[in-house]
Amino acid sequence: MFTPAAFIFVFLGNFAAGTAFGAICDGIFLRQLGPTSVSADQILSYKIQVVNEGACNLEGVQVTDYLPRRTLYREGQPTPSQVPSDRPAPRDHLPVHQVQWMGVHLPPRGGSAVFEVKVLVLSPGKRTITDTACLEHPSSVRICNTIDFWVND
């Protein structure tokens, strides 16, 4: 597990631009919060925060987290609508490793939601792993943010 010192929550990457959903739906933001580094064979826990500062009432929003490679999904809060297979090895079919929450509601002017993801980081260490989270509204634009975590030995 993380030591308290290592578990410093930081805003990783930029707060993804909120120019989406057309002129009247500006102000949608997505960001990930988590540690800057993690050790191999330990749990990495991070949060995806989405905020609607705009005037639109957003219903049916989909939030997708493309999990870092060489990690195993362990838990999501709230319970995701879709989770990846637990088998890590590439087989005949190589599924993209993703967790998805459907039907998210973001009321106007401050509506927000937080999604927590826990994955087991597999060996080896001394590498960077990448996570991309996206917020998507049907027939509209997508907002994504990509962040990196350093894996210690």
Binding site: T19, P95, C134, S140, R142
Partner: protein
């Protein structure tokens, strides 16, 4: 003559290389969209799907064409819902009366080291055409850098070439900033999955493993993996270069105030089923080009209709 030589000769005889990228005559005051990149944006072999789909979805045009910029490129094609078409739709919906023109400088086998040359061509064309604005540019590059033999292009070299490219583009002075969508490398190592290697192609029923890996010899460094460790090593090469593209986009946006560069990582997050591949089991088919266009369009933050 061996079978591979016969097929390659046929390909060369029937292929043509588009020497003119123009898709219309420049008109003073018109808007210009630019396309830069490699064979994906050039639409290489997109006319020949690996798995021909039902004729009701569109007849297969059995031509061997090395470039399909005008018809099937995800960025510039007119026969797919390309970014050129989507941008045109957006501008019409916004009541924009200036005509939109497209120039596609993407060239098969090009790497980041070739991008400055493409950028110079774009700038030259823009200035000669007396366009009012370079409204949008797509750049999909890096696949050939990752696939390069004997090893991938070093990251610092890629960064240098990208910054050189953006410096050249920043020479264009116009009222609005130049909007550039920089698209990351797709999951090329996934193409080495046994399910794809075993797929039969329309080329005499030969398997992808033969057509792609032996006949064409595409990207053995990334596709030729056989173990989990080898697969991840190949994915590391792609992921490192996508990180470099992302960080360089941010660096160049800060360095050149008249450029607005957005990086899209979405091709990397997309599965590539064999239904989206061309006959060579490597390049995207027409359906693949449509899928790329649709997915990547969602990542541009500028041309959004309500």
């Amino acid at each position: 003559m061996t079978l591979p030589q016969v097929v390659l000769s046929l390909l060369l005889i029937l292929s043509f290389s588009s020497t003119s990228h123009a898709m219309g005559r420049p008109k003073p005051g018109a808007l210009l969209m630019g396309v830069m990149g490699d064979s994906i944006s050039a639409g290489s072999l997109s006319d020949l799907p690996l798995k021909p789909f039902a004729r009701s979805e569109g007849a297969v045009n059995a031509k061997l064409i090395w470039e399909n910029k005008r018809r099937l490129s995800w960025a510039s094609g007119r026969a797919v819902a390309s970014h050129f078409r989507l941008l045109g739709d957006y501008l019409r919906a916004e009541g924009e009366d200036q005509k939109l023109f497209i120039e596609n400088f993407a060239t098969p086998k090009h790497r980041t080291r070739d991008l400055p040359g493409q950028a110079r061509e774009l700038v030259r064309h823009f200035k000669n055409g007396a366009y009012s604005s370079l409204i949008y540019v797509t750049v999909l590059i890096g696949s050939n850098d990752a696939c390069d033999k004997p090893g991938p292009t070093p990251l610092d070299q890629m960064r240098e070439e990208l910054l050189k490219t953006f410096a050249i583009m920043s020479e264009i002075k116009q009222e609005d900033s130049i909007r550039i969508l920089l698209v990351g490398i797709p999951r090329i190592p996934d193409l080495g999955a046994p399910s794809i290697r075993r797929t039969h192609t329309p080329l005499l029923g030969l398997r992808c493993s033969f057509v792609r890996d032996r006949l064409f010899g595409f990207c053995p460094n990334l596709i030729g993996w056989r173990t989990v460790a080898q697969y991840h090593a190949a994915m590391d090469i792609v992921e490192e270069r996508n990180r470099l593209l992302r960080s360089t986009a941010a660096e160049a946006t800060a360095a050149f105030p008249n450029l607005e560069i957005v990086y899209s990582n979405h091709l990397y997050n997309l599965e590539i089923p064999s239904e989206l591949l061309a006959i060579d089991c490597f390049h995207p088919s027409k359906r693949g080009q449509e899928a790329i266009s649709r997915e990547v369009w969602l990542d541009q933050p500028w041309f959004i209709t309500d």
